[in-house]
Symmetry: C2
DNA sequence: CCCAGGTTATGAATTTTAATCATCAATACA
DNA sequence: TGTATTGATGATTAAAATTCATAACCTGGG
């Protein structure tokens, strides 16, 4: 059974005669007759019968033409959708988020993005947090917001903005008055981080481990807001992008500190497949991300 | 876009490699590759990409393979259903009922029929009561129970059983004691019939009109039970198959009368298309209808 | 580090399939 | 009763799909 058989049944239903149906399909009447005869023989069942000079569908034929309605509708709509996809007029942009802080930033750009691209379905996921590199290659993601790029030519990394990681402490914290601090001074502190492996945490990778410091405790927190609240109530200190604090005017009880001679400068990148860089809605994202910074 | 493309996408999804998928479809890897390349060119969109030595679906490819799941499932199930239909193992038998009394009789056979053919969908309709002859030719009905056949060779009429029409009157009726009655004696009676045209009612066509009798009144009733109740309470008399009364032991307040020299013998037929006579479930119906009589 | 064994892609030849053309047979209508 | 219109059908032609042979590529193991 092939789509042509469904199309013939539908055309016959629409036009009434095989002759007329053949015009609809840009084929000859003979072609339709041959095709259906062939199908009937393979199925071992009669689909229509000539009655007078019109065709009457048998029960099997009726049934099959009902199936045809549904199948052809599905196929045609898929074809149309693919045509739009091919023209870049629609699509689904799946954006992977690689770190919690990235998500906090992305929220600030999401609203205007949705408004500018109302036709574009957008999905933001942190599902591939730990293997976004593979996910984007396997088309499970279309873009990844990350501040830990892997420059090996496989992906296109578009720098969005630079930022600095700062230590967040409560205003009443013993170190709050200091202009610069040393990693070693965190030895008696409780460290607040997102719940990922230490190797992926700049706090450990860039601050504590290079200085050989093991902190008093390490508490993981899912939500940035909660992390800031904990810090404000002196339950610990954390390393976060400075712009995060700037946005959080609702958190006046914490301040940011920098480490002496240890610049924690980072760059936020948007990673995409090379082939997708030119897509309009990717370009828009890049431009607005930069102007936002 | 053809079914083969959907099948290739599904086989690839199942087996992982095109080589393995080709076995599933009993084709060569080359055939699958050519087909999909061709589709891609026509659609103007890439569906997969070779990554290392495996294929990775693009977003469009993912989308199309999802469509494929649905389309192929529909088509395969339709094919299976048609195979059953072809083998006569399933089907839908639409039985047309041509007179109310026929329906009363059919109810007695319906239950065992449903039990014998659990797979068979049965629909009983009186929708085509007035044109069942055309309906069966157009495959809108598969069988018609009728006691008014049209023998012209177009349909196959299978006699099921003979029966007699009798006049139903209340036990206390003035005619109840009589052995035979005359049509003219109905002049002062109220006639109860089903709500169809007089030309189709044996009471008028065979009894009253030949005798030139116009009765006192004519009341139409949809339900046989109600008609019998009305007769029992002396609200009128009616002409019904004798077996109908035999089944209705719950109606002991009426009796049946016959007309003198006016045998109202009828035969119940099952009308089918010639091509369907051999179907098992039609044969069963015929045999059991006859034994029932 | 290269090679064996695996993958998909591709061009040309072949086979298979579908479409057409030219009819026929049946039917409906003037 | 002829004429026009319907679908069916067999032979021919045209098109499409499949295969074969092979290239190009990747991966893992000695």
């Amino acid at each position: 059974m092939e789509l042509i058989h469904f199309r013939i049944l539908l055309a016959l239903k629409r036009r009434g005669t095989l002759n007329s149906a053949s015009e609809l399909l840009h084929l000859t009447q003979s072609a339709l007759s041959h095709q259906m005869k062939n199908l009937e023989q393979r199925l071992g069942i009669i689909l229509w019968r000539k009655q007078g000079r019109t065709l009457v569908l048998t029960q099997a034929g009726q049934y099959l033409s009902d199936v045809a309605e549904s199948v052809i509708a599905t196929v045609d709509s898929a074809e149309q959708h693919l045509a739009l996809l091919a023209a870049g007029k629609t699509g689904k942009l799946i954006i992977g988020i690689d770190c919690h802080a990235c998500y906090e930033w992305f929220r600030t750009i999401l609203q205007p993005y949705l408004q500018t691209w109302p036709e574009l379905a957008i999905e933001v996921t942190s599902r591939y947090r730990f293997n976004s590199f593979e996910a984007i290659q396997q088309y499970k993601l279309d873009a990844v917001l990350t501040s830990d790029p892997v420059f090996n030519g496989v992906l296109h990394y578009q720098p969005l903005f630079d930022f600095e990681l700062v230590l967040i402490v409560a205003k009443q914290h013993r170190l709050a008055e200091r202009q610069f601090i040393e990693p070693s001074e965190l030895q008696e502190e409780t460290i607040l981080t997102y719940p990922v492996e230490r190797e992926r945490l700049d706090m450990f990778r860039k601050v504590l481990q290079p200085a050989g410091v093991e902190p008093l405790a390490h508490i993981t927190v899912e939500e940035t807001d909660i992390m800031l609240q904990l810090a404000a109530s002196q339950r610990g200190v954390c390393l976060l992008p400075e712009w995060l604090l700037a946005d959080k005017v609702k958190n006046p009880d914490v301040i940011s500190l920098r480490f002496k001679d240890l610049p924690l400068a980072k760059t936020m990148y948007l990673a995409t497949r090379h082939e997708d860089v030119q897509l309009e809605y990717i370009q828009w994202l890049i431009e607005h991300a930069q102007s936002k910074a």
